[in-house]
Amino acid sequence: MTNRPRKKTPARRRSWAGLILRLILVLALVLTVWLVYLDHQVTSRFEGNRWEVPSRVYARALELYEGASLSPAALESELSALGYRRDASLRQAGSWHRKGNQLRLRSRGFHFPGGAEPGRTLALRFDNGVISQMRVEQGSAEPVVRLEPQAIGGIYPAHNEDRILIQLSQLPPLLREAMIVTEDRDFDSHHGLAPVSIARAMLANMQAGRVVQGGSTLTQQLVKNFYLTADRTYSRKLNEAAMALLLEWRYPKEEIFEAYLNEVYLGQAGQRAIHGVGLASQFYFGKPISELEVQESALLVAMVRGPAYYNPRRHPERATQRRNRVLDLLEEQGNLSAGAARDARRTPLGVIERPRFQANPYPAFMDLVRQHLKRDYDDQDLQSSGLRIFTTLDPGVQTTAARRLSETLDELSAGPGNDTLEGAMVISRPHSGEVQAVVGSRASGAMGFNRAVAARRPIGSLIKPAIYLAALEQPDRYTLISRLKDEPFRIEFKNGDEWSPRNFDGESHGEVPLHQALSRSYNQATVRLGLDVGLDPVRDMLERLGLERRPGAYPALLLGSLDLSPLQVTEMYQTLAASGYRVPLRSITAVTTAEGETLSRYDLEIHQVVEPGPMHLLHYAMQETVRDGTGRGVYRFLPDALHVAGKTGTTDGGRDTWFAGFTGNTLGVTWVGTDDNVPTLLSGGTGALRVWGRVMADLPQQSLAPVVPESVDYHWIDSDSGLRTAENCRDARRIPFIAGSAPEQERPCGDSFGGRVQRWFERLF
């Protein structure tokens, strides 16, 4: 190569230009690739499922209709739990007003699995614990109306974010304006970035000497929180700016604004982060976003800048100041009149004390729900798809049960040796198997060991109804008056062991009629009966009643040497309460998607497993248990006129005390004992029964009123001889028999009284 002086020739200029051109092309390529990449980020997340939304769990919906058993106090309690406000004008949905025995309310609508329940204004009148009159003042007139169900919990994703997604149509007045005027004045006109805002902010910050204003648009804020990490590097800022522009290019303003409102971080509930105005509205005000008043909206907007710094519960003065600043801005803009602004500024914050949105007020019941859900759903779906789970929980019943159990155990603990008493209870509706309440421990709220579901304890005499029922299925061998021998005996096993069952009171009672052997829970008579009937028929009966695993064939089974949880016991007693129909217990009735599409439904199922005749006879004997037998204590808590069937159970030393009983509309199974299996000084009748009685006395009850089946006839029987007799004889009692099994012989009465003497069994039926 020869040395030539450099000269700017056109060729050289062209090669410089070429170089620059190539450089530009490369840069353009890099930029394009980068932008395409960012664009893909933006769209893929924005168009997919934007958020992992926890599944929400709901209690049963309260049904309102004329004739419903409901006291005004109970309704008030429900309305309070739903976040309804007292307001005589009923201006907004979610308000109510009571005057004496009249109550008016304005309900919110709700999307139930079967269809939408619209909001309505109702006027109710109560008399004697019943809705005597219901009028629909506004809204579609229906004879039966549902309130929205209480949200009782959720199933949260691992990252512990929680949201209630909202749509723009749900926004209350001026929330949008407040947010925009405070956080991004030019939102409606810019394209993602607002250079003017940035300049303004820089100026303000320079003047103040520190950061007092941000220049970020709402779009930028959304990008930052939604897509990016929190580090504050230049490259992140650059990405953020580019993505904001892309977002605005791709999607309409309204969609971006809605996403922003659902993303914005607004506080902390312990471990749970509160994102989005929907949840924040519940968290701070206990009501849905659509019901917020202007100063409440202003408070939410005020907190965007710093939910901890402006926490209305911790720093009410700061929060009020900032809220009022937002109101000022609204007034300046002309969105609020001076008068309205002034009134709003004067209004107190209005934040509810404890977030109604408590994580888990009913942990024992939720435990049951989760177990059920696990069978059909995987954790991922539950935690992130925003499913809606409709359960059978009755919060009023649950609260009552938990409270009364706790109180009663405290009382019982005052006695010697009872310090570590624990208890559990399950309450269900007899005809539908809907579980209304699950109490897993004495301490409420704490999610410790859920004894109702997980503690298997020997059930003792609770097993007896199964034995007697098996016997009564053979009317040619057994009737309610069959004489049983309540006398000592001994069983010798092949391995040389011996077993000699004793009665609870240590005594034997000779020959006793079958109904009395059950109502007084005589062990010796029962074991004899059980062996006579045969262990296999007894085991069959247990399975038919709902016991999942067939128990072994051992004589001690007849005295309840079988470990079950209160829930499993409830499953069996459910069949007794449903007159011989197996009605599987349900804690969930339906699961829907967030949009309301039904994914699963759990409908009522019934299956007859015992004939009505023997069942009716057993009901008779179980009612005698509470009138005259080991369950007598029930009537210390309940009115005489209420008919109840029940069974006590006690194990050795009172280590376990049980009571299972049902009325016409409620089945309750209670266990009281100690976790360490230490003897208490209690029995089924003094321990578990007391809890049961206290709880049931607080719930609206209907008398047990069994239908007398075609196959059953009542006859007057002379107690002594067991023969038929006439109605007004002194020792006569009216006893049901399977047709054809009643004694044929008669015995005239000893007395000739025509008068009617009050006899418990006369009032029995």
């Binding site: 614990g129 009115p639 008398s703």
Partner: protein, 148 residues
Amino acid sequence: MVRRLAGLLPLVFLAGCAIEPAGTPQQREAPATEQEPVVSTPEQTERYDRRSGDPLSPAAASLLASARGYLQGGQPDRALTLIQRAHGISPNAAEVYYHFAHAHQARGEYARAEQFARRGLALAGNREKLEQQGVDLLAGIRQAANNP
């Protein structure tokens, strides 16, 4: 299909019988303040002869009427939701169980339908008209089950 629709015909009769004058069971027993009756009242004697379940409450009757609409419109699932609500209100009324039976029959679930029909029949007890409905219903279900 035709048979299933034919199975719906008894619904028409049910509609007529659905509403009976009622003392709803909820009102029979008031809470704890009742005095004990000293002498047997007719109501007490009646219990020995309680040969049928409860009358259908008007609230439940209205839900069943809506359910029938869905059944006739070929939407047994939606009908079931309403029938279950009716059941919550009147769990001892034969008519409710009959409606369950119809809904399950419409879904081709004959075994279930039969269980509900039988329960309804037991509650119909000695009320002739209601009893006859139950008998017919059961017969219809069994027939449909045998000729699917």
